[in-house]
Amino acid sequence: MDSPSKDNTRPAGTTVAGEPIDAVVNQDYKYGFVTDLAADSAPPGLSEEIIRFISAKKEEPEWLLEWRLKAYRHWLTLKEPTWAQVEYPPVDFQDICYYSAPKKPSDGPKSLDEVDPELLETFEKLGIPLNERAALAGVAVDAVFDSVSVATTFKEKLGDLGIIFCSFSEAVREHPELVRKYLGSVVPAGDNFYAALNSAVFSDGSFAYVPKGVRCPMELSTYFRINAAKTGQFERTLLIADEGAYVSYLEGCTAPMRDENQLHAAVVELVALEGAHIKYSTVQNWYPGDKEGRGGIYNFVTKRGACRGRRSKISWTQVETGSAITWKYPSCLLIGDESVGEFYSVAMTNHKQQADTGTKMVHIGKNTRSTIISKGISAGEAQNAYRGLVRVQKGASGARNYSQCDSLLLGDRCGAHTFPYLEVRNSSAVVEHEASTSKIAEDQLFYCQSRGLSAEDAVSLIVNGFCKEVLRELPMEFAVEAQKLLGVSLEGAVG
């Protein structure tokens, strides 16, 4: 009650849920939330003021600011979800910095000599090309190879075909009509706790639009990413494939990403119109924390694709080896008749990692089909859960689903869990689910070792075979690295 500015900085009814008004007021006062456009970063904490600051920093139009604010106001009414099979200390959302300008190249290491040798060793094992290692380790990119020219070359090539591929901020500036039309149309601003948080404060991300009938000639990938490499922890991706278009998008990379942000809450929205096909591949290897489970990223992601048109198809492939906590359910809304949804996943957890991941396939159109292949590998003291929903709506006659969820256990202190939900409202549907859990058979290991493989190589071989169905869905160069990645992630898992 001592702050003269309190009434001006905060519209009525926007106090943070559960927090005494006084504390919030004092906090505002303490940091003096003045919109300073010259500042590089905002003070920690979340309020409407911060959202206005982010929006102003990014020179966003009024409608987008309103959209963010609406999401924020809804977020205040939501509770953090607790149903997942994961345990972690509560996240203090007022202790997070929601905006910081991209780092200057001069802040990073000057050359590979300054980089952590352990990191370099991992690159070696993964077989990452020399020129990319520096970039991945955070060495100023232009010191190594000219990314700008590479990017420009690709951008011109894509531009010739009418494909738009740019950062989200750029898309807001250059193609507001597309962004406005599709933003939040698959994952609404208030969809869930983390999606609402992302909608309120998203920093940047990627945007791609493939026009009618165009087949994107290259894999849109983060390797040759056109937008800034550091898109921050609240990434937002929006991909639209117009009628008859095809696009394959790669996200993440196999190299371990060192990141000081603990909480990642990304949102990915895919829209496939009639006859379009989107292939979305992810390799996630965020820092998983040390062997004792200290540190590590919390990865709370909302990914959803809508097959809007007839005969459209969305295919998710993911290899999840990183993060301390993974909470991620790439989903497909099969709205168009004869549309197809696919989900291929490998989730590997070691030490004290926890993963609760899976998919949702919602069959709405007629003769829709979906396939779910999920492979979970648990080692050390890790917990790995598959959680999936297959829902066949009343009108979805002729729907077909096949799900297979297998788990492999390495070590007697880890856990593997399966929670599939099958909801069928149409009698012509055929839905099948099967799951198995076991450890690597001793005789398989013994055989491999009798042929001269070390115990570690034998396990790696068997694990790769176990995951083969998923790995072969990955684009070629990713698949090779993902295989090596599984081997590296398993290190220390075999006694």
Partner: protein, 454 residues
Amino acid sequence: MKSSQTVAPGDLFGADLARAHDELSAPSWLTALRRAGEARFRASGLPTTAQEEWRYTSLAAIAKGGFRWSGGTGAGRDLSSVAASALPALEAGSMRLVFVDGAYAADLSTLGPESGAGVWVGSLAAALAESPPWLEQHLGRYAAPDHSALVGLNTAFADDGALLHLPPGTRLSGPLHILFVAAGACVAAHPRVLICAGERSAATVVEEYRSAAGASTHYNNAVVEMSLGTAAEITHVRLVAENEGGCHTAMVQVRQGADSRYNCHQVTTGGALVRVDTRVELAAPGAECVLRGLYALRGTMHADHHTFVDHASPECHSDERFKGVVDDAAHAVFNGRVLVRPDAQQTVATQQNPNVLLSPDACVDTKPELEIYADDVKCEHGATIGQMDPLALFYLQSRGLDQAAARTMLIRGFAAEIIDGIGVPGLGQRLHDELFGSAPQPSVVAASSGMERS
């Protein structure tokens, strides 16, 4: 069915709970149990669809049903509507305990020579009069009153029920038939069954729920507790075939000792709203449980079967298979959870849930869950939802059967795996007849309009 309910917790059954509180007399340990149960139910009321365990099953019909407790064993009952000859029976001469609206009906029951030879068979009310030492030891121990709201509710009214106590090494020569008949209108009964099987003992128990002819709506909230000693073997058949006004909730809680074997066969064919929770704890090494289930639903029936197999010890086996046939606008729910606790190595657990949908308005929600914290295990589960194979139908029709007969034959074949596996003489045939008619010509299932779908 995901509507939220507007039942004020504590109000429901409030008057009856107060009455039971005042009227029922018992030894102090039982009174304490009842009080704990009452407190548990009053604290939360009926579960709602907001709870994950109940997301597909709304108990609004029970909340709105106006069901009233019919009083303790002392209360007078009109048994004229229940004729002994009309009650379903097992083989001639088998022991039968009959309960009408929850209270033991001695006139309708038959007790065999076993009772008295160390084996104790009879009603809870009779046991309380005798007060054998094992009663206090076991009653309310496996399904504790604070276990859940519905178990609490049952315990608050615990006054009568069926008891079977098998000393070590004893076995029942024939099946024990425990029959719960609902006869009154708008009556809520809280049947209780307690089975204590000592070391190396064995028995077959058929627990059956029926509505008397002319009975209207009613509610049974059953609790079944079972303890199997080392190397004991219990075969438990559970039949729920109430009328279209019957609501049924049940908790079957089993604890298995080392090398014991529990065979459970559940067949649900009638009732407006049925929810059965079966929880088996494999508490010592070498225990084995086999769960078999069949739900054949018609009309607007809603049946929800939850099973929970808790592998708390190494070297235990569980094998579960629940099959569903869902017709008309019926709604079937299955939730099978298998938990393998840390160090429960050498576990083998399988679970299957195939469902057949026969009508466009039928629906199924199934959720097979595996939760595994040990590595040297073999666990698998499968669930399928589909229709009858059109090729098989076509084949049968090409052999001269009409469509209805062909369909019934296929459904009968689908259900036979469970029914024929029951192993109680005569019971399988009776179930077949009830479901599909005694003649080769089908009646019950085929009579529904859903069968005429192209």
